[in-house]
C-alpha cells in the first residue's frame, strides 16, 4: 500500500508523541506500528534491515541503563518506545525520497520560509552529493588511502573546502536562474503528491490507537 507524504508525516508525528511520553508500554500501543508494517509488507526487507541497524545504538543505551543504572524495567521501556516509533516511521517513509518530503510539508501548509529552505536544501544535497562522489573518485584514482595522519585530515579538509566552493557556485547559479524567473522567496509547486486511499486506513488506525491509549478501552 502507498501513503501520501503529508499523511505519513502527520501520522508519524502524532504517533511518536503518543508513544514517547508513555511510562509503560502495553501491547495495545503497538497497534498503529504493527498495522502500518502490515500495510507496507511489500517493503519489509528494506525497513526490516534499517530497523536492525538503527537498533545498534539503542541497544548500547539500554545496555548501559541495565548494567550501570541497574534498572532493567527502564531499559526495556526505552527499547520498546524507540522500537515502536522507529518501526512505524521506517515502514511509512521507506521508498520515499527527499522531494516527496518537501511536497508533504507543503501540503501540510507549513510556513513558506521553512518549505522553501527545505526545497533548496533538497536540491543542494543532490548537487553536493554528486560533487562529493566526483572528488572522492578523483582521490581514489590518485591512490589516496585515508589513514590516521595529518595528511589525511588536511586532504579531507581541502576536499570539504572545494566541495563548498564548487557547490556555492552551482547554488548561486540556481538562485540567479530562479530570480530571473520571478522568485521572491516563495514557491508555487504544481506537481503535488495526492492523497491515496491508504491514507484513510492510516488515519483510521491512528484514531483507533488514540482511543485505545486515551479512551480507557484497555
Amino acid at each position: 500500500m502507498r501513503f501520501s507524504p503529508a499523511a505519513c508525516i502527520f501520522c508519524a508525528a502524532v504517533y511518536s508523541c503518543m508513544v514517547a511520553f508513555r511510562q509503560q508500554i502495553i501491547p495495545a500501543d503497538a497497534v498503529f506500528a504493527a498495522g502500518v508494517m502490515l500495510l507496507r509488507i511489500n517493503f519489509l526487507p528494506e525497513y526490516f534491515f534499517r530497523i536492525l541497524k538503527l537498533n545498534l545504538m539503542i541497544l548500547f543505551i539500554c545496555a548501559t541503563v541495565y548494567l550501570f543504572g541497574d534498572d532493567a524495567r527502564h531499559a526495556l521501556l526505552i527499547f520498546l518506545r524507540y522500537n515502536l516509533i522507529v518501526c512505524a516511521t521506517a515502514a511509512m517513509f521507506c521508498g520515499m525520497n527527499s522531494t516527496d518530503f518537501y511536497y508533504g510539508f507543503y501540503t501540510l501548509r507549513l510556513p513558506h520560509k521553512f518549505t522553501v529552505l527545505l526545497f533548496f536544501a533538497v536540491k543542494y544535497i543532490e548537487i553536493i552529493g554528486n560533487e562529493y562522489e566526483k572528488m572522492r573518485n578523483s582521490l581514489k584514482v590518485r591512490n589516496f588511502r585515508p589513514k590516521t595522519d595529518a595528511f589525511t585530515y588536511r586532504t579531507l579538509a581541502y576536499l570539504l573546502g572545494m566541495l563548498l566552493v564548487r557547490s556555492m557556485d552551482r547554488a548561486q547559479a540556481l538562485t540567479q536562474a530562479m530570480k530571473m524567473r520571478g522568485f521572491s522567496g516563495r514557491l508555487y509547486p504544481f506537481n503535488f503528491r495526492p492523497f491515496f486511499p491508504a491514507d484513510v486506513v492510516a488515519a483510521a488506525l491512528l484514531v483507533f490507537q488514540f482511543i485505545l491509549i486515551y479512551g480507557g478501552l484497555v
Binding site: 508525516i9 508519524a12 508525528a13 511518536s16 508523541c17 514517547a20 511520553f21 534499517r50 539503542i58 543505551i61 548501559t64 541503563v65 548494567l67 550501570f68 543504572g69 541497574d70 534498572d71 527502564h74 521501556l77 526505552i78 527499547f79 518506545r81 524507540y82 516509533i85 522507529v86 516511521t89 517513509f93 520515499m96 527527499s98 518530503f101 510556513p111 520560509k113 522553501v116 529552505l117 527545505l118 533548496f120 536544501a121 533538497v122 536540491k123 543542494y124 544535497i125 548537487i127 553536493i128 562529493y132 585515508p146 595529518a150 589525511t152 585530515y153 588536511r154 579531507l156 579538509a157 581541502y158 570539504l160 573546502g161 563548498l164 566552493v165 557547490s167 556555492m168 547554488a171 538562485t175
Partner: protein, 202 residues
Amino acid sequence: MHISEGVLSAPVLISTGAAGAALTVFGFYKMKTEMLAKTALMSSLFFVGSFIHIPVGPTSVHLVLNGLVGAVLGVCAFPAIMVALVLQALMFQFGGFTTLGTNILVMALPALAGYYLFRLGMKTAGKKRWALFFLTGGVPVLLSAVLLSAVLALSGSRLYDTAKAIFLMHIPVIIIEGIVSMYLFNFLNKVYPDFLRTEYEN
C-alpha cells in the same frame, strides 16, 4: 550525536523542545531572502557531513560540522540545522519528531560559539589564528557533547553512566573536527574569502 526517540523523560523533552523551537523561529525571523541559498547550502553540507567518515585508529568517526555552519551563518544556523535534522529523521530515522527540538538545541546552540570564535580568529594572524580556527571546529562539538550528556543526565539518575559514556565517545570527534576545521577555514579564507562574509541579518 542525535538523541533517539523514547530515551528522554517528558519534562526534558518538553522544555528542550520548546527552547529549540523558539530559537529556530528566531533564526527564521532573522534570515533574509538573500541568505536562503547559503543557509540551504550549509544545511545540505551538514546533512552530507554525516556521510564523510574520517579514520581514527582502527575505527572512524563522522564530522558534525556545526562549528562550520555556525561560523558561516551565525544565528541562521538554527533553521539550517533544523532542516537537515528533519531530513535525517524522515529519511534515515536518525533522531525523530519528539526529539527534534532537543537535537536542534544540542547541535545548533553551540554553533553560535563557532560563530564568535571564527570572528575572533579572523581578527588575528599566525599561530593564534590557527588555534582559533581549531577551536571554531572543536568547541561547538565539545559543547554539543556536554549538552547531549546533560539532557541525558537530567532524564534520570539511571542515565548518568550513559551520559558519561556518550561524552567520552565524542572526545575523538572533538579533536578531529578541530583539526579538519583548522585546515578548512584556512583554505576557505585563501580560496573563497567572500563565502565567509556575514551580511545576513535583517
